[in-house]
């Protein structure tokens, strides 16, 4: 081919089928707002991007967008929001992603006096008002006129009554995804929530330090209403300590525990694990993601015994937390099991053997497993002996490198470049030393993802001890990204080359 010859064609981007254009535009999606400008290019682009944004919102990957704020929060009839004046005259759906966030405040502050935060809520709402820009409108008017266009909806940082929440939802007849994040109910008049026939995805989040009973009441209220129609559930609460208190209402409402969550196939959880993993209910889970959890005694053996009830259906298991979360019982996480530990070697060995003594359990459908990157012998053994041998159908293994450096970013600082080089070298050395390919005969791909390190672990967890390696000292500034990937084909062709050299 002559590189200097310019080849031309009259074929245009409009000749691509919409699904191809969708694939291309999807790759431009860096964050919630990155796609919006491209809606202006062409009506087809607008339609495709609207679909992409809606899909993300429905999958709980984005919060509803746009966000409207409560600007006056008195009684139900006087609750006002602010939106662009044109929105109410808009013909058709004014929401690009068919989604919306209704917020009382632009953020909830976790570490201040929470009672003060609630008592100043009214001023906070009025502060949201942006004089001269938008139009103030009664929330009831807004939701009754436009609520039917929404397929996903987020309630965020709201202090309000049960009645108002039920009333808002009654106008959202088409929603499929609902996020309830950081709401505080001012009464306990838990009237029945409206029927939402299409609702299949629910996320309940609370991170504020407050009385645990409030969280449980809010969570239970929604779960009682929608438990049996949900396909995906996300539960995030730091202080949810007694799952049975929530389940008691649910069980009495449903007349028994055994049919609870009968359609649920995806669970993402960062509260008490035994909320779902106890004997009360057995949803047919296909996907289980366990994120960082708080104050919960957990170890590999306990975890496997808890999740074994899903062994017939589970296809993907993601343990999205650092190793110390999985060694809670052993006082100080893996520190207890490392060679530098002050504990006697025989005691360390005894604890490790106990943690690994998982009964013969198999997960015949599990094809995807994510776990923290191992940096100690104990962690390597846990991955091999507590997990991988139980997953005979495994095809993808993801190792989560907390604090890893992303090779896709442009580093200018020499230290960062050196860290990246060290990381890549260590990863290559690591993969030369382990043989997951032999252990899992169906394994097709291993990838390493960088994960942002939780600062709470480093600063306040006195028991947590990090290995002093370059891998641990670097910081990942983004939530996630791939740093390494390798396939069985590559492994086999490298082995072939080595054999030929010999």
């Amino acid at each position: 081919m002559d590189a200097n010859v310019v080849q031309t064609s009259s074929t245009s981007i409009t000749d691509l089928p919409p699904e191809m254009l969708k694939q291309i535009l999807a790759k431009l999606d860096d964050n919630q707002n990155s796609l919006l400008p491209y809606r202006l290019v062409h009506p087809l682009w607008k339609a495709i991007i609207n679909d992409l944004l809606e899909e993300k919102c429905l999958k709980l990957e984005y919060d509803g967008c746009p966000k409207v704020y409560i600007v006056k929060n008195c009684t139900k009839n006087e609750m006002l929001i602010e939106c662009p004046a044109e929105t109410l005259q808009h013909t058709g759906n004014p929401f690009p992603s068919s989604s919306l966030t209704l917020a009382g405040s632009n953020s909830i502050i976790e570490d201040i006096d929470f009672e003060w935060w609630c008592s100043t809520y009214q001023q906070r709402c009025e502060h949201n008002s942006n004089e001269g820009e938008g139009q103030k409108v009664r929330l009831e008017t807004f939701t009754s006129k436009l609520g039917n266009y929404l397929t996903s909806f987020t309630l965020y940082a709201l202090v309000t009554s049960c009645d108002v929440v039920a009333n808002i939802l009654s106008h959202l007849v088409n929603i499929k995804t609902l996020t309830v994040s950081e709401i505080i109910l001012t009464d306990s008049q838990y009237k029945t929530l409206p029927t939402l026939c299409n609702l299949t995805n629910l996320e309940l989040t609370s991170s504020a330090p407050r009385m645990i009973f409030e969280d449980m009441d809010v969570f239970a209220w929604f779960l009682v209403a929608y438990a049996n129609q949900l396909k995906k559930l996300e539960l995030h609460s730091r202080f949810l300590t007694d799952p049975q208190l929530i389940l008691k209402d649910l069980i009495s409402e449903q007349g028994g525990a055994f049919n609870l969550f009968q359609n649920l196939d995806e669970l993402v959880i960062s509260s008490r694990l035994d909320f779902f993993l106890n004997s009360f209910c057995s949803p047919p889970l296909k996907f289980l993601t366990i994120k960082k959890h708080y104050f919960v005694e957990l170890n590999p053996k306990k975890l496997m015994l808890l999740i074994h009830k899903f062994s017939d259906t589970l296809e993907r298991l993601e343990l999205d937390f650092e190793w110390n979360n999985l060694f809670f019982d052993s006082v100080g996480g893996t520190f207890f099991l490392t060679m530098d530990s002050p504990f006697p070697a025989n005691r360390r060995s005894q604890v490790l053997e106990e943690l690994l003594s998982v009964p013969i359990l198999k997960f015949p459908k599990l094809i995807h497993f994510s776990v923290a990157f191992p940096t100690t012998d104990a962690e390597l053994r846990v991955i091999n002996e507590a997990f991988l041998v139980k997953f005979p159908a495994l095809q993808k293994l993801q190792l989560l490198l907390f604090g890893g450096v992303l090779p896709s970013l442009q580093y200018e600082n020499e230290n960062d470049i050196e860290r990246l080089q060290n990381q890549m070298q260590k990863l290559q050395d690591f993969f030369r030393g382990v043989d997951y390919w032999k252990l899992c005969s169906g394994l097709k791909r291993i990838s390493v993802l960088a994960r942002k390190r939780d600062p709470i672990l480093d600063e306040t967890d006195l028991f947590h001890c990090l290995d002093e390696t370059d891998l641990d000292n670097v910081t990942c500034d983004v939530d996630s990204g791939q740093v390494y990937s390798t396939t069985r084909d590559e492994y086999e062709s490298a082995n072939l080359t080595n054999m030929q050299k010999m």
């Binding site: 245009s12 400008p37 967008c65 746009p66 662009p84 929105t87 929401f95 993808k396 896709s408 990838s447």
Partner: protein, 169 residues
């Protein structure tokens, strides 16, 4: 060496090894179908590609030739796993290969790679188009891709207001 004749929409025939042709999912299926239906195991398969003209088919085969020892990527590669994305696999040769082409040829290559199920080529061509969009203004994108606005009435202004509403909050 077993060969296959691949014929473009404008009648040009390319004689390529079956090993190379099978790196295209579509050609692999066609060759296997031919084998099953043919009594003569020595017969040379002939495959007509009615949607791809000679110049584009030549480019696809040239790309396959260059990448004949790469691992074959599954068509439905998981995005999060990343491999298969162009930034992981694009070589200097790929960049030189794409450099002289105008966007029209790139679009034809995308369509051809999609039709013939050549994931690696599809990835790098889509990535090239993506790079022509990223960071550009609406007018620059319309100019680059020879697009008209085509919005009816005040729809463009309305879209602008919706965007502003989303971004401001």
């Amino acid at each position: 060496m077993a060969l296959v004749r691949v014929i473009s929409s404008d009648g040009a025939a390319f004689l390529v090894s079956q090993r190379l042709a099978k790196r295209s999912g579509k050609l692999k299926t066609e060759i296997e179908t031919f084998r099953k239906s043919s009594d003569n195991s020595e017969a040379q398969p002939e495959i007509r590609i009615v949607t791809i003209r000679a110049e584009i088919l030549r480019l696809v085969l040239q790309w396959l030739q260059q990448h004949q020892n790469d691992p074959v990527l599954p068509a439905n590669q998981n995005e999060q796993d990343g491999r298969g994305d162009a930034e992981m696999g694009q070589s200097q040769w790929d960049r030189d290969f794409l450099a002289p082409m105008d966007l029209g040829i790139v679009m034809e290559l995308i369509l051809a790679a999609n039709h013939l199920e050549v994931k690696g080529l599809l990835d790098i061509t889509c990535k090239l188009v993506e790079s022509k969009i990223t960071g550009r203004t609406v007018d620059e994108i319309r100019t680059a891709f020879k697009l008209k606005s085509d919005f009816k009435g005040n729809e463009e202004e309305q879209t602008r207001l919706e965007n502003r509403w989303c971004v401001e909050n």
